[in-house]
C-alpha cells in the first residue's frame, strides 16, 4: 500500500501537525518508504493468532477507590504557556 498527496494531508490533519505544501511530496516519499518496509507483514499467516494485549501475563491491579492526591492546582498549571488563575487558557472554541 502507498499513500498519495491527499492522504498525506489527511494524516497530517489527523495528527494535528501543520504541513507546508512544499513538504507534502517529500513526506509522501518517506511515509511510502516505511509502508514498503512493513509490507512483508501482509504475507505472514496470522490465522487464529490472538493479537498481543500484554507482553507479561498480569492481572489488572485494583486499588481502593479513594482520593490519594489533589489540591495542587497551581502545580498542575505551573507549566502552561497561558493560564489565568488556576485555569488553562485556550483560543475561543464556542461562539
Amino acid at each position: 500500500m502507498s499513500v498519495d498527496q491527499a492522504t498525506v494531508r489527511r494524516i497530517a490533519h489527523l495528527a494535528r501537525i501543520a504541513v507546508e505544501d512544499s513538504e507534502v511530496e517529500h513526506l509522501r516519499g518517506e511515509i511510502n518508504a516505511i509502508l514498503a518496509f512493513v509490507e512483508e507483514l501482509a504475507d505472514v499467516d496470522v490465522e487464529g493468532v490472538a493479537p498481543m494485549t500484554s507482553v507479561i501475563p498480569m492481572k489488572m491491579k485494583m486499588r481502593v477507590d479513594e482520593v490519594t492526591d489533589g489540591d495542587i492546582a497551581q502545580d498542575v498549571v505551573a507549566n502552561a504557556p497561558e493560564r489565568e488563575d488556576n485555569f488553562f487558557v485556550v483560543p475561543k472554541v464556542v461562539e
Binding site: I31, V38, E40, P51, M52, K61, N79, P81
Partner: protein, 499 residues
C-alpha cells in the same frame, strides 16, 4: 598528583567512600570538572553541579556517622526523558523547551532514596526516537570513540548510538559513574554496544515507567548504562521495584543482582538463533559472535542451536506498533498544558502550528505513520496484524525457553558505530535497521543485556547481547560477567574532547 576519581567504577567508588579514602564531595567535584571539560561531546543538556555538591555534603555527613545508603554519594547522569523535580526536562524536543516538572520519576526517586546524586540531564534522540542521537533538537552527541585508519585516528565525529546516546557517551567518557537510560527498541543496548559500555533493558514491568516521558508504552522500559556488569547490577537493584503509580509495574521482590556477578554459569544452556545470521552482516560481527560462543563454552555453558522463525518480522511490526503508541502518547503536546505554543487562526490551527514547530522530522514522521495505521480502514490491516505477529514473536522465545534454554546469545548490532550524517539521510529505514537484533526483545518483553566483546577493524567497540527469560536478569548478570571476564579489554582514546 591527585588520583583521578572519575576512573573508578561505581562499585570501586562506593567501596572507596565507605573506606573513607576520599569524600563524596571530592568524588562529585572530580565529575563536575570532567563534565565541564567535555562540552564538545554535547552529552549533557543540563548540568546541575550545585545540586550534586549539596547532595554530596549530605552524603559525607551520612558516611561520617556510618549511615550510608546503598548508593551513597555516587554521581550519576540522568537521561533527559526522566522527569526531575525542579530541573528542566525536555525529551530533547523543542515542544518541551522550558518544561520544569514539579514531580520526580519513580526510578530517579529510588536512586536518590538510595543515596545517589545527579550531575545533570543527558542528551537523547528527540522523544527517544532514533538510533544515533542525531534527532535531538539540541544537537547530536559525539562519541568519545574515534575511528582508526592506517594506525592514526581520523577526525570523523562518531555517533554514540541512540536513543540513549548522551547516557552512553557520558558513561564511556567518564562523565558520570553510571547513567539512567530507556529502551523501546534497543535504545539502551545499541548505544552501549557503540560505546563499549554495559547496558541492560530489564523485563517489561521490572522498573516503573511513572514520570518517564512516554514513547511507546507497551515497549518502553528503564534501565542503566554503566562501565561494567557489576555496576549495572548495582544500579538496577535501586531502579527496579513495584510502583502503585504504574499498573504495568510488577509486584515481585527485587533480588540483590550484584550477588549474581561472578556466579558460575556451568551447565547453563545458551541458545544460538540461526535467524540472527542476517544478510549483509559484517564479517567482524559474525566473528565476534563466534568468539562469544567460545567464551561461554569455555566457562562451562552448553551451546545449543535454536530457531526463532519470526525474527525477521519483528522490525517491521515494531514500526507499526511503536509509532501507533507514540501518536497516541504524543497527542498530549497540544500547546495547552506545557511547553511550546504557537498561535493559529482557531484552536485546531493552534494545535497544528504548535506541533509543526515543536516536533522534529523523525517525530513528525512517526506520529503521522501512527495516525495512519490507527485510522479507520487501516487499523486491522496494520495495527491488529502487527500485534498478532507480536504474539508469534513472543511464542518463538517461549518455545526456546520451554525447551530448557536459559539465555540466548546474539550480536548487539549488525555493524559498529558510524559517523554523524552517514546514515538515514535519504531513507529513514536505513537507520531503523540498526535495531534489528534488539527490537525482538522489546516486542517479547524480555530482559536483554549488552556487554562489550571486542573492537572492529577500525577501532570501534562491538557488543554482544544476552537475552533472558522474563524476570531472570540474574542469569544475564552471571553470563554477562563471564563474557566480560573473557573479552579483551578495550581502551578508549585519550580525552581528545577535553577543553
Amino acid at each position: 598528583m591527585t588520583r583521578d576519581l572519575t576512573r573508578l567504577t561505581l562499585a570501586a567508588a562506593r567501596d572507596g567512600l565507605l573506606a573513607k579514602r576520599f569524600s563524596a564531595r571530592e568524588l562529585a567535584a572530580a565529575h563536575i570538572a570532567a563534565v565541564e571539560q567535555a562540552r564538545a561531546l554535547n552529552a549533557y543538556l543540563v548540568e546541575t553541579p550545585d545540586l550534586a555538591l549539596k547532595a554530596a555534603e549530605d552524603s559525607d555527613a551520612r558516611l561520617a556517622r556510618g549511615d550510608a545508603r546503598p548508593l551513597e554519594g555516587l554521581p550519576l547522569g540522568v537521561k533527559d526523558l526522566y522527569c526531575t523535580n525542579g530541573v528542566r526536562t525536555t525529551a530533547a524536543s523543542r515542544i518541551l523547551e522550558g518544561f520544569v516538572p514539579n514531580y520526580e520519576s519513580t526510578v530517579t526517586a529510588q536512586l536518590w532514596r538510595d543515596g545517589a546524586l545527579m550531575l545533570g540531564k543527558l542528551n537523547l534522540d528527540e522523544f527517544a526516537m532514533g538510533s544515533s542521537n542525531e534527532t535531538s533538537a539540541f544537537g547530536p552527541v559525539v562519541s568519545p570513540w574515534r575511528r582508526r585508519k592506517n594506525g592514526a585516528f581520523d577526525d570523523a565525529r562518531i555517533v554514540p548510538g541512540g536513543s540513549s546516546g548522551g547516557s552512553a557517551a557520558a558513561v564511556a567518557a567518564h562523565l558520570c559513574l553510571g547513567a539512567t537510560a530507556t529502551d523501546t527498541g534497543g535504545s539502551i543496548r545499541q548505544p552501549a554496544a557503540f560505546t563499549g559500555t554495559v547496558g541492560i533493558k530489564p523485563t517489561y514491568g521490572r522498573c516503573s515507567r511513572w514520570g518517564v516521558v512516554a514513547f511507546a508504552s507497551s515497549l518502553d522500559q528503564a534501565g542503566p548504562i554503566t562501565r561494567d556488569v557489576r555496576d549495572a547490577a548495582i544500579m538496577l537493584r535501586s531502579m527496579a521495584g513495584h510502583d502503585p503509580k504504574d499498573t504495568t509495574s510488577v509486584d515481585l521482590p527485587v533480588p540483590d543482582y550484584e550477588k549474581s556477578v561472578g556466579a558460575s554459569v556451568r551447565g547453563k544452556k545458551i541458545g544460538i538463533p540461526k535467524e540472527y545470521r542476517v544478510d549483509g552482516m559484517a564479517a567482524e560481527i559474525d566473528a565476534l559472535w563466534t568468539q562469544g560462543i567460545e567464551w561461554l563454552r569455555a566457562a562451562g555453558a552448553e551451546i545449543v542451536d535454536i530457531s526463532l522463525p519470526n525474527t525477521r518480522h519483528a522490525l517491521p511490526a515494531y514500526y507499526i506498533v511503536a509509532p501507533a503508541e507514540a501518536s497516541s502518547n504524543l497527542a498530549r503536546y497540544d500547546g495547552v498544558r506545557y511547553g511550546l505554543r504557537k498561535p493559529g487562526k482557531d484552536i485546531v490551527g493552534m494545535y497544528e502550528n504548535t506541533r509543526a514547530a515543536g516536533f522534529g522530522a523523525e517525530v513528525r514522521r512517526r506520529v503521522m505513520i501512527g495516525a495512519y495505521v490507527l485510522s479507520a480502514g487501516y487499523y486491522d490491516a496494520y495495527y491488529v496484524r502487527a500485534q498478532r505477529i507480536r504474539t508469534l514473536i513472543k511464542r518463538d522465545f517461549d518455545i526456546a525457553f520451554h525447551a530448557g534454554v536459559d539465555a540466548i546469545l546474539t550480536p548487539a548490532t549488525p555493524s559498529p558505530a558510524f559517523a554523524i550524517g552517514e546514515k538515514g539521510a535519504a531513507d529513514p529505514v536505513e537507520m531503523y535497521l540498526n535495531d534489528v537484533f534488539t527490537v525482538t526483545v522489546n516486542m517479547a518483553g524480555l530482559p536483554g543485556l549488552v556487554v562489550p566483546g571486542g573492537m572492529s577493524s577500525d577501532g570501534l567497540p562491538l557488543g554482544l547481547q544476552l537475552i533472558g527469560r522474563p524476570f531472570e536478569e540474574e542469569t544475564l548478570f552471571a553470563l554477562g560477567a563471564a563474557v566480560e571476564q573473557a573479552a579483551p579489554k578495550i581502551e578508549l582514546p585519550d580525552a581528545w574532547w577535553a577543553s
